[in-house]
Each structure stands twice: as C-alpha cells, then as structure tokens.
C-alpha cells in the first residue's frame, strides 16, 4: 500500500467524521463525489438517508430503465444525484448530459422483502476530469458497503434458484463496459430508455433543461411480448451488448455494432462471420443467420455460461433465458 494513499484516506476519514457529526438533515457529501480520493465506504457519500433501506437522501432521485441490463436476476435500485442548483441537459435520444458533481448510483440486491440482501452498489462519479466508476461491496451485517477496488466474489442464490459465485467487478472491469474512446461514460440513462413521465417530472423540478422529444423509446421490458420482436430484441442488444459492441468501445475490433441506431444488417451481425471468436463460435459460421437462431453465434454465446464462450464476458454468471427468448424470437422472424 502506498503511503500517499494511506494518508489521504486517513485525512478523508477524519473529514467525514466531522461532516457526520454536523447532524441532520441528510445531505449528500459533494466533496466525496468530486474530490480526487476514492472514498472507502459507500456511507462516505451520504447518498442515502437510510443505506440498508435504500432510502435516498435529499437531491437523490430514483429512476428505472425501460429495458434494463441483465445481472443474474438481481434487483437493481437506481438513483441519480445532481448537486443543488445544477441541471441535466438532454441531447436527443442518447445519454443525458449530467453536470460535474453528479453521481449515478446502482445497488444490486437479491431476495425479496425481509430476505432482501444488498450485494453491491456501483457508483459513477462525474468529476472535473471525467467519470469515475467504483464498486462498493455490502458487508454481511448489511450496514454499509466498502470500496472493493479489486472486485470480489459472493456466493448467492439467484431468483431462479441457481447457486452462483456472483462477481463484483473490479475498478478496471467497470471501465470495460463504461469505456468509450478512452473515456468512462454512463451507459444506462439514455433518453430513449427512460420513462417519459419521469423526465417530464425532472423538467418540472428544474433538474432537466427540456422535455425530450422521443420518436423511438425502447420498449418496456415487461411489455416486450406486446412489442415488435425486432424492437424488443434490438433494445435488449443495445442495453446488454452495445456498450462493448460499438466503434470506440471494448469489442470494437469485432466489427459488430449492436447499438439501437445501427441499421446496416452486416454490422448488427446478419451474415457476419466472426473474427476473433475462438471457440465462442461454437462451430457456427455467422453471428446471425436469418430465421435460424440455432445457427446464430450470437444466440449460442448468450446461452453459454462458460468463460471464453459466454457473452457478455463480464457481469453475468447465469443465462438470461428471457433475453435469449427475445433475441431468438426476432431472429426466427428475420
């Protein structure tokens, strides 16, 4: 351990103690969000009035995504924080532009009601020099979460009853999904993947500059059977795969581009041969064979749990049967 870091942590802990003693009402610790240190505990940020209960503090707004990223069936609690007096800017249908000092907070939990167990909370901090992604792992007592810079594994049971070794990503792995053109960016809060009503609410509260004009929102995942198969599947691929499979991102060298806005069939995998799939190809020739999901590498890799074959490479230990079904249904109809 480096002396410099250790000192910084000590000083920071002292500073926090003073803040904590200042008493209610709970306010987010803006310094923890914006300063250069890596806060050791989730509670240092004071994002929650009640951390274990996931009750947000003042200025912290819960939100959901129309189509969410699959994470072994975890319940995910999402929150947006913006410092007082700042405003988000909508930029078409893509990511909201969030001011420096903002944070995106996502808690992963398994189990319902009294049995709910918080596993980890990931935070994305918008600092002056860019976004920083950090993972925090909840303790067994469920009182606080500690920075898990090297990641961790947690044995747990998924909602479908599978016993897994759940992976808390390390700091670098955060970047594998959140990296674009060398920078860390948020993935989730795209205008087209957020509730229109929620966004109007933000505008009313002065937190967003304008009610977004949305032509093609992503379908609500729970309503996917009512959506067109293509829309449900492409939304799923956009949310679950496109953060890596797009130009400038982690899997750019594959030449596969699974963003919602990509319309060229060859780039979304139709008739596309693999480049560096290795045994991930499963003996199949093309990423997507129209009408033949069973001959499509995309489906083969989604259905795998095996490292080196499974896609996504990170963030899943179990197969997302619903996601596989949605993509299968689409490919059958191409």
């Amino acid at each position: 351990m480096k002396t410099g870091l250790f000192l910084a942590a000590t000083i920071f802990a002292a500073a926090c103690a003073i803040t904590a003693n200042a008493g209610p009402p709970p306010e987010v610790n803006d310094a923890a969000v914006t300063e250069t240190r890596l806060p050791r505990a989730l509670s240092d940020f004071a994002f929650f009035a009640d951390g274990p209960g996931q009750v947000p503090a003042n200025g912290v707004t819960p939100y959901r995504l129309n189509t969410p990223l699959y994470s072994d069936g975890a319940t995910k609690l999402r929150f947006l924080y913006m410092p007082a007096g700042t405003q988000a800017i909508s930029q078409g249908e893509g990511l909201l532009s969030l001011p420096v000092g903002s944070a995106l907070i996502k808690t992963f939990a398994f189990g319902e009601g009294a049995d709910r167990r918080l596993i980890e909370t990931r935070v994305l901090l918008h600092r002056a020099d860019g976004w920083l992604a950090l993972p925090y792992k909840w303790n067994d007592e469920q009182t606080d979460a500690k920075l898990a810079i090297a990641g961790a594994r947690v044995d747990l049971t998924t909602p479908r009853g599978e016993q897994i070794s759940y992976r808390v990503p390390n700091k670098n792995q955060c970047k594998e999904c959140h990296g674009l053109n060398g920078e860390v960016i948020p993935i989730g809060p795209k205008v087209r993947n957020l509730s229109h009503d929620w966004q109007v609410g933000l505008v009313t509260a002065g937190l967003l500059n304008a009610a977004p004009d949305m032509e093609t929102p992503l379908p609500m995942w729970e309503d996917r059977m009512a959506a067109k198969p293509e829309a449900a599947a492409r939304a799923y691929l956009d949310v679950n795969c496109a953060h890596c499979h797009q130009p400038g991102a982690t899997a750019s060298n594959s030449g596969l581009d699974l963003r919602w806005e990509q319309t060229l069939p060859g780039l979304i995998g139709i008739g596309k041969r693999p480049v560096a799939a290795g045994r991930g190809s499963g003996g199949l020739l093309f990423d997507i064979v129209p009408g033949k999901p069973e001959e499509s590498i995309l489906v083969h890799r989604m259905k795998s749990n095996e490292p080196g074959v499974a896609m996504p490479e990170l963030g899943k230990s179990t197969v997302d049967e619903e996601g596989v079904a949605a993509v299968t249904r689409w490919i059958e109809g191409i």
Partner: protein, 405 residues
Amino acid sequence: MTKTTNFACMTAAIAIAVATPALAETIEVAAGADAQERLQEALILAEPGDEIVLGAGYFTLTDGLSLDVDSVTLRGAGMDKTVLDFTKQIGAGEGLLVTSDFVTLRDFAMENPKGDGIKSKGADAIVYYRIRVEWTNGPSSENGAYAIYPVESTGVLVDGVKVSGASDAGIYVGQSKDITVRNSIAEANVAGIEIENSRNAVVEGNIATRNTGGILVFDLPNLPVMGGGNVVVRNNLVVGNDEPNFAPPGNIVGGVLKGTGVLIMANDGVWIHDNVLTDNSTSDVMVVTYPQPYDDDTYNPYARNVVIGKNTYARSGMDPQFEGREMLLAAFGGALPPVLWDGLSEGETGLSLAAEASGWSLNLANVGDGPDTAKPGPLVVPVNVINYDEASIGAPEELSARIAG
C-alpha cells in the same frame, strides 16, 4: 539503422509521454493466498512509471486480470518461474487485459486461460518480452483462441515469447501498425504467428513448428481497421507444421490446411526471404485470395505485391491436404513444389519471385472458385526484384531500448 521520419516523430512523442515520474515505485506481489485480489489491486493502484514485480511460484487466479495505467512494467521471475495459473478461471474473456499505453510485460507465464491469454487493446507502444502462454493439455479445440493478442495498437514488440496450444493463433497481431514479432517460439497452435489487418510488420527470427500453419499474413473484410500490408517475413524457421487443424469450426483459421508453412492472403506488399521452410507437408509458402463472399467496398480480396525472395526449402509438399492429391503428387514427381499460388491477381500485381524458386499454381479462374476447379500447372510469375524499405518497417526503437541490457 536509419528510421524514417515517421518513426523519429513517434519516438520523440514517446519520450515526452513517458517522462519518468519522480516517485516511480516497485510493488512486489508474491504468490499465495488471495493472489487474485492482491495482484489486481496492485494493477489498479499502480501509477505511471511503477514496476510490479511478481515473485516466483504459481499464482492461482479465478478471474481475468486487467491493467489500465500507462507506463507500467509487469515483471516476473522468469517464464518458467512465475506462472499465472488460470486453470480455475471462472470469469472474463482473457487472462490479462491491457488497455493502457507504454506497458512492458516480461518474464512470466500464463497457463490455461479460459479465453485468450494476454489481450492488449488500444494499448500503444507495448512490449511482450519473454512471456510464455500455454495450454498445458496440448492442442484442443477447447483451448482459448489467442495466446498473445495485441489489437488496435500502434507500436507492438513481441520478443522471446513462447506460445503453445492456442485454438486460433499463438501470436496474433490484429488491426495494428508498426509491429515486430521476433525471437519467439510458436508451437502446436492452429496458427503459429498471425498478422491480420495490420501494417508495417516484421516477423523475424522466430520458430514456428508443429502448428497447423506456421506464419499467416492476411486481411479480413468488415473490420474497423482495413488495408493491411507492408509486412516482412524473414529469417524464420518454419518447420514441420503438421498439427491437424483443431480450430473450432466457424473460425477463419479453421480453413488453414495442415502442413502450411507461410500463408499470405489478401494483403498488400509482403516480402518473404531468408527463411528456412522445411517439412511442411502441404506447402512451404502459399499465396491466395480471400475465398469467401463479402460485402465491404473497402476490401481488396487479392494478395498484391507479394515478393518471395531467397529461402531454404526442403522435404515439403509431400502430403498435401488437397482433393486429388495422388494425381498431383504423381504429376509433380512425388512432392509439390514449395511455392503455391492460387493464380488470382489484380492486374500484374500479384506474386513475383526475387530469387529462384519452384512453384505451382492452381490457376483458378475467379475469386471464390474452389480447388475442384483448379487447373494445376507450373508457377509462371515475373522474376522481379523489389527492394522493400525494410528499415522503415517494425516496432519503434524505443520499444527495443526498453528491454535492452
């Protein structure tokens, strides 16, 4: 050696970028319990200029490792002494992922990663030195694809590495430029060394043996980086590449014929000279066009400006993996000549010889025609000496300087 202006510029840029930080540290990580967390934490907390030193012994790892800090050296006690063992890996697509620039990896081994061995993506000016990546059960389609896997990078030096068992390529450099692969051993992989969609590469002084194919240079369509070429393959020992192809079907190297020495496909400007090519049962040198259908206006499927210089050939072409091999062998007197061309070219710019070499051509009529349409005959190509500017090709000197002494 005189470098071109390009390299001088790059070297200067590197000198500025890696100005040594005042407090560079050495961080020691020993094998033993919690190696995963301790090593990964060291890789994350390292600062530019730091050296992470791995102790001798086996490091048991369960997840992929990653490095995203510029100018870090990761050094072990030797490729047979420090072993990162991924036999029990349960996550990630590779053993080690590097995404930062000016990184030096040296003197350690990786065993049995579930996916690729070491991948470096968008990692400029990287050095792989005396690294061993091995799947210890030998050739198997269950092994990972690439052992050493730099991609989308400028400035790559691979020196003194040893790779075996990769189900695609042992050393694979893709979508990159200014590359040197030298003094390395690629054994029992599907492809020993592969240069793909890349420019300005030197492959020299390597041993490629017991692979399905020894050294491959080619371009594929529909990739972010296109237009590979300007590649020199020289002074290599490409011997006895006799492993039956064990690539999982669907991979492009699944089409490589057992017993291929050097294969050039769809690439522009390749100079092959002073290699020893022997005991490659199908062909010592093969120059072909990309045979598959494709939809990419920027892609040129032909091999262009390929020059075969003086090489040493012996005992090859004796068991070619072609339909009608008996007839072919009979026609050529028991062994096929060392150089094989598919006969397809774009104008006059296909293949030429810079030295005496016997060869044969499939004389295919059209791109995509199968070998069943071949009209085999003696090789008739220009004997044309092109002097490549070999000094301008390869990794920048700065990368060699980093491991000198």
